[in-house]
Chain length 204, copies 2
Amino acid sequence: MKASIFIVDDHYMVIEGIHSLFHQEKDIEWMGHATNAESCLSFLKRQKPDIILMDVSLPGKSGTELCKEVKQLYPSVLVLGLSTFNQQAIIQNMMDSGASGYVLKNATKEELLEAISEVLKGKKYFSFEVVAALRETKEKQPLITRREKEVLQLIAEGLTNVEISEKLFISMPTVNTHRKSLLEKFGVKNTATLIGKAIKIGLL
Amino acid sequence: MKASIFIVDDHYMVIEGIHSLFHQEKDIEWMGHATNAESCLSFLKRQKPDIILMDVSLPGKSGTELCKEVKQLYPSVLVLGLSTFNQQAIIQNMMDSGASGYVLKNATKEELLEAISEVLKGKKYFSFEVVAALRETKEKQPLITRREKEVLQLIAEGLTNVEISEKLFISMPTVNTHRKSLLEKFGVKNTATLIGKAIKIGLL
DNA sequence: CAGTCAATCATTAAAAAAGATGATTTTTAC
DNA sequence: GTAAAAATCATCTTTTTTAATGATTGACTG
């Protein structure tokens, strides 16, 4: 299976690294690179690679946005997410945007090749650590309801219970109930740690 | 000026990228790489490079800790921080640990070479964006005192004023004073936003 | 259709944080 | 060595959060 690949990453040394890794691979046809969303899109107007390796954190338009656009314009082009981070929320976003997999930047050449090969077959591919993290955060991350999430958001913005109640058109005691169940579900005992944990998990 | 360099980074493709960039540079002697702090230290027992390119975010022992140890054991070895992030707190930490400069991972080959050359001359080098960010966050980031930082840390851990006062052997009203000046300096009105902002800035 | 859960509201009370003001003692910096 | 800034403590009030308990309604699920 010969695959043509294109890479979007704002880190020049990463591009160079992958290029160098794939240099003598016969099954990989290197089509070029871009360091931002715009030049990636303009490249796609002319040529269509089989797979795009796409960094999720790009300057300006983010990787997830770019991914969504690419999949909309050219559904046949496969996108493989690439990132340093191992955060459930980001990965989820990327997959929701139509990516076929997610590989961390500490991947070896072998892992990258396997990812490409799997994705080409129409399968999804995730780095081992990503799978572990997804499972872990799914266990760790408290299942909060829609309403609780809204309240959490507003707490983070600095609103008091009364202000939240006015904003959501509910009574203050109700806001309080949500707040308390948030504290309980996160296993924390005050606002400070609640916010800290929520940010760490990627909910805020 | 011929320089021997060693690189510590947990991202294989970055190592490969830099290696590839420096491949035909005559002035650069490639001494090898490590993907974690331990193997870096064990390498240094045998050989001393002129410069270590060091990622700040390593698995296990962090880059700043490693930098501190390296400078303690081998003061003559120069350390050049390397990272994706452009956060004042991290950079400050790295410089306090004895690094000679800080380069972002989107640097070009030319920039890397210049950084190395400057650092070899005994100067400090920072990426353009780093300088800009330093100036910017210096304006944005409130100047908090040592004590205030301690209190902030403990608030983030979820301690109440009374608990903090016991931990720091000061009276509760004093803790309150610090807390209030934190709120004022951050320009926020409650704990929730205080924690949020502190994390965003990179203080927590 | 019964049981579970989300979302809502109520009451009461203790604990904690936030706001205002003022003052003393160390440190630090020029 | 003096002025500024940091760290400390005190008192008092108001607002907000946390806690405990209980209860109703509507939606979804097996």
